[in-house]
Symmetry: C2
C-alpha cells in the first residue's frame, strides 16, 4: 500500500488523480507539483472567456488552497519537476520562486505533465501580439490585448478545433479574421463533407479561409509586434496572431527517466494507467490512449479521457484495481451557427486499420419537417462491410447534432451492427424529432451500402 | 405467394404496410379500404396545426391518388369494412357514399383499424363545442371553431400527452385554459418528479390544473353548446371543451372474426405481425406490442411502432420473412418551455414485473455550467438491483432532454448495466455538453443505489 503519492501536474488529470487517491484511501499522503501559478481551471472554456461569455473567476475550479481543504491534496505551485529517479523512488523538484532544488520521495508517482503547444519554428513567433490558446494566462493575455490594443485584423494560424473557437470569439469582437491552414480544408480528421461545410460556415461568417498555405515568417516592428504574417501564399496584415497548431505530449521528464512513449510521443500505459516502470502511473494529455474501435494507440488530448485516466491512476496508486479500457473519440465543436461532432474513427483511419469501409452521407430533418425551426442534420457514417459494424460518424447541423452523435457513440462503443441500430426504438415527437430520427435514416441508408 | 392483399385502414400503419408490400413484391395487388375521407396524414402534428404553426396542406402525406401513383396502392375511401370472413378469405365492405355492400376476396389481409377516442360516457359530450383531437377533421373543426366562435375559456379534460399539447396550443391562442384530470398529477406513467415538474410548468404558463376530479356532466345551452363542465369538484365555465382521455384499440371487426386480443383489447400478433388466424396480419394502433424491457405485452399506440409493424406486416403479407421484435417505449412531449421524455418502463411497471427497483434522480447542467444558456436537465433512472440493468428513464428540462433520452434508450434496448453506461465515451464541448454529461452523472449516481 502506498504511503506517499506524488503527482506531477496540476491542471486536469493531476488533480483528478490526486483527489481520487485521497477519496479511495484517506491514509495516503498526496503531494502535487505544478510548475505554473494556477491549478485545476477550465481550459476548454478559454475561447469563451476571450469571447466575453464567461468570467475569469468562473474558470477556476480549485485553487491550491481549496484543493487542500476540499480534497485533501497538498499542492505546491511554481514547482517544476526536473527529474524522476525510479531506483531511488524520488523526484527532483525546482522551486521556481527561490531557485532551490529539492528531492522528494514517492511510493507511487503519477505523471500528468499535459501537453505543449506546437510551434511554427519560425522567427517572430514569440512577438508580443502572437498568442497560443493553451493556458489561463494566455486567455488573460489575449483578452487584455484586445481591450488595450484594440486590434482590427487577426490572423489565426491553424484550422483545427481551437482555430474554430477563436475565429468565432474574434469575429464576435468585431475583428477581421483570416485563417491560414496548411490543408485544403479545415478540421483534419473529419470527413470531407463535414470539412466543406465548416469552411462554408467560416466564410459565411466573414472569416477568410486561406487553404494550402505555410507560414514562413513574421514581419516584426520595433515594438516587437508582428505586422504581417509571411506565407507561401503572400503576406497577411495582422494586429493579432493566434497560433492554434495543436499540441504534443509533454513527455520530457518521463522520457529521461526511461518511461516508454508511443509513436506520437505520448506516454504508454496499460489499462491501469501504469507505465513500464514500477510504481509510476501516467494520465492525461501526456499519454496515449487506446482507441477501442480499432484497438490502436492514439494521441487524443481530451479532458474526458484525462479525467477518466486520472481517476484510474489515482485509485490504483492508492491501492485500488481500477481499469480504463480506452476511448472511442467523442468530440464536438461549435462553428458559428453549426454543431459539428465526430465519434469513433474516420474513414481514413478505418481504411488504415484494415477495415473494408462503406461510407454514407444523409441529411434529414432535426424535427418533423413541417414544424417551425426544423433544420437539416447531416450524418456521415463509416461502417465495416465485413462485420457490418458502425466504426465512426460525423454529425453536423444547426441543432441536434452533438447529442445525436452521442447516441451513435454508444452504438460504436458497443460494436453494434448497422442492422441492430436500424431497429433502435427512438423518440418521435414533432417539436424534437421526426418519425424516423436522422439516426435511423442514416442506419437505413448505410445498410444499403453494405 | 399472395396475389391480393387487402388492407383495412388508411391512416398510418395501413399505408406503411400497403406500400411496403408493393415494394417488396411488385406482383401483388394491394387494395386498401379507408372509412373516412383522408388517408396518410400527419396526426401527431394536429395540435401544432391548431396552434397555427403548420398548415393544413402540410399535414397531408398522401392522397388516395398519390398513394396509387407513387406507391402502387389501390385506395377506396369512404369504405367501411364491416366483417371479415376468414374461411371464405373475404371482407364485407360498405360503400358509405352509396350504401352498397360488397364482398372482396383476399389472399392476405392486413388489419390496421387504428384506435378510438375514449369517451366520458356522460350526456352532452357530443355537443357542438366539445372536440376530440384524433383526426384531421377534428383539427379542422377546432381551428374553425376558434376562428369563428372566438371562445375565451377552454376546458381540457384529460392530462396526458394530447392534453399537454392542446394546453399549449390554446394558451397560444390566448384562451383561458383549465385542465381537469382524474389523478393528482398530470401524465400518468411518468415518475412523480417528472409529473410534478409538468404540473408546475402548466401553472407557470397560466393553465389551471384541477387534480383528482371526475367529469359528471355538461350544461348544454339551446344552441347545443356546452356552457359548463360539471365535475365532482364543482362546475367550470367553458366555451370550448377538449376531450383528451386517451384511446382504445379499434378491434371490433377483428374480434367478430375470432381474432385474439390482449388485456387492453389490442390485437395480439406474433413477431411477424400475424394474428391467430391464417393469412391475417395486423399492425398499428389496433394492436398490442411486446415491451422488450420486461417481455410483456403493452398497448402503446405510437406512430413509430405502427410504421414498423406496418412494414413487417406488409413485407410478410407479400411473401417476406420480416420480424418486429418489439419496442421499449420511447416517447416525448413539449410542455410549454420544457422537453419531457420517457424511455423504457416506469418504476411502477418495473415493480409489477418483478424487478428489484432502484430509482435515482439527478439534475445536471445541459452545457458547461458557466456557459450562457446552460440549464439543468433532470434524469430519473429506474434500474434493477439484481442485474444492474437500466430499465427506464425520464428526462426533462429546457433543452437537451429528448435527445439524451434517446441515448439512454439504446442502453435500455440493449440491456446494458449501469456500470457499462458509466463508461460511455460521450462528447464534452462547452456550448453543448459538460465534461460529465448528465447521462454519466445519472449513471454514476444510480450505481451508488445498486
Amino acid at each position: 500500500m502506498a504511503r506517499r503519492i506524488v503527482v506531477i501536474g496540476g491542471l486536469a488529470a493531476g488533480p483528478s488523480a490526486a483527489s481520487k487517491a485521497v477519496r479511495v484511501n484517506p491514509d495516503v499522503e498526496v503531494l502535487l507539483f505544478e510548475q505554473g501559478e494556477n491549478v485545476s481551471y477550465a481550459i476548454c472554456e478559454i475561447p469563451y472567456f476571450i469571447a466575453g461569455e464567461v468570467k475569469k473567476e468562473e474558470l477556476i475550479a480549485y485553487t491550491p488552497r481549496t484543493l487542500k481543504e476540499k480534497k485533501g491534496v497538498n499542492v505546491r505551485v511554481w514547482h517544476h519537476v526536473e527529474a524522476i529517479n525510479p531506483t531511488r523512488r524520488s523526484v527532483v523538484v525546482r522551486d521556481l520562486k527561490t531557485g532551490a532544488k529539492l528531492e522528494e520521495h514517492y511510493d507511487r508517482l503519477i505523471i500528468a505533465t499535459g501537453s505543449c503547444s506546437r510551434m511554427l519554428g519560425v522567427k517572430g513567433e514569440n512577438a508580443r501580439n502572437v498568442f497560443h490558446v493553451k493556458t489561463l494566462v494566455h486567455g488573460l493575455q489575449i483578452r487584455d490585448f484586445i481591450e488595450s490594443a484594440k486590434p482590427k485584423k487577426a490572423v489565426i494560424i491553424g484550422g483545427g478545433y481551437i482555430g474554430m473557437e477563436m475565429a468565432e470569439a474574434l469575429r464576435g469582437e468585431e475583428l477581421e479574421v483570416t485563417m491560414l491552414h496548411r490543408h485544403s480544408l479545415p478540421m483534419e480528421g473529419l470527413e470531407r463533407g463535414t470539412r466543406e461545410r465548416v469552411r462554408e460556415e467560416l466564410e459565411k461568417h466573414g472569416v477568410e479561409f486561406v487553404a494550402n498555405v505555410h507560414t514562413e515568417g513574421f514581419v516584426v516592428d520595433k515594438d516587437q509586434k508582428v505586422t504581417h504574417v509571411v506565407t507561401t501564399n503572400g503576406s497577411y496584415e495582422a494586429d493579432l496572431v493566434i497560433l492554434s497548431l495543436g499540441v504534443t505530449p509533454n513527455n520530457e521528464v518521463a522520457r529521461r527517466a526511461g518511461i516508454r512513449v508511443g509513436a506520437s510521443g505520448g506516454i504508454l500505459t496499460d489499462q491501469r494507467q501504469l507505465t513500464n516502470i514500477d510504481n509510476i502511473y501516467a494520465a492525461g494529455d501526456c499519454c496515449e490512449v487506446k482507441n477501442i474501435v480499432n484497438n490502436r494507440q492514439m494521441y487524443l488530448p481530451l479532458a474526458t479521457i484525462g479525467s477518466r485516466g486520472g481517476w484510474v491512476a489515482g485509485e490504483n496508486a492508492a491501492g485500488g484495481k481500477a481499469i480504463f479500457a480506452g476511448a472511442i473519440r467523442a468530440i464536438a465543436v461549435k462553428v458559428f451557427g453549426i454543431e459539428v461532432a465526430q465519434v469513433g474513427i474516420s474513414s481514413e483511419e478505418a481504411r488504415n486499420s484494415g477495415f473494408d469501409v462503406a461510407a454514407e452521407t444523409i441529411s434529414a430533418w432535426s424535427r418533423v419537417a413541417i414544424m417551425p425551426g426544423s433544420t437539416k442534420v447531416t450524418i456521415i457514417t463509416i461502417a465495416d462491410k465485413k462485420t457490418r459494424r458502425l466504426l465512426g460518424a460525423n454529425v453536423y447541423g444547426e441543432e441536434g447534432a452533438v447529442l445525436r452523435a452521442n447516441t451513435l457513440a454508444v452504438g460504436i462503443q458497443h460494436r453494434m451492427t448497422i442492422d441492430v441500430m436500424q431497429q433502435w426504438d427512438l423518440v418521435y415527437s414533432p417539436p424534437f424529432a421526426p418519425l424516423w430520427d436522422p439516426i435511423l435514416v442514416a442506419a437505413n441508408a448505410t445498410r444499403k451500402r453494405l
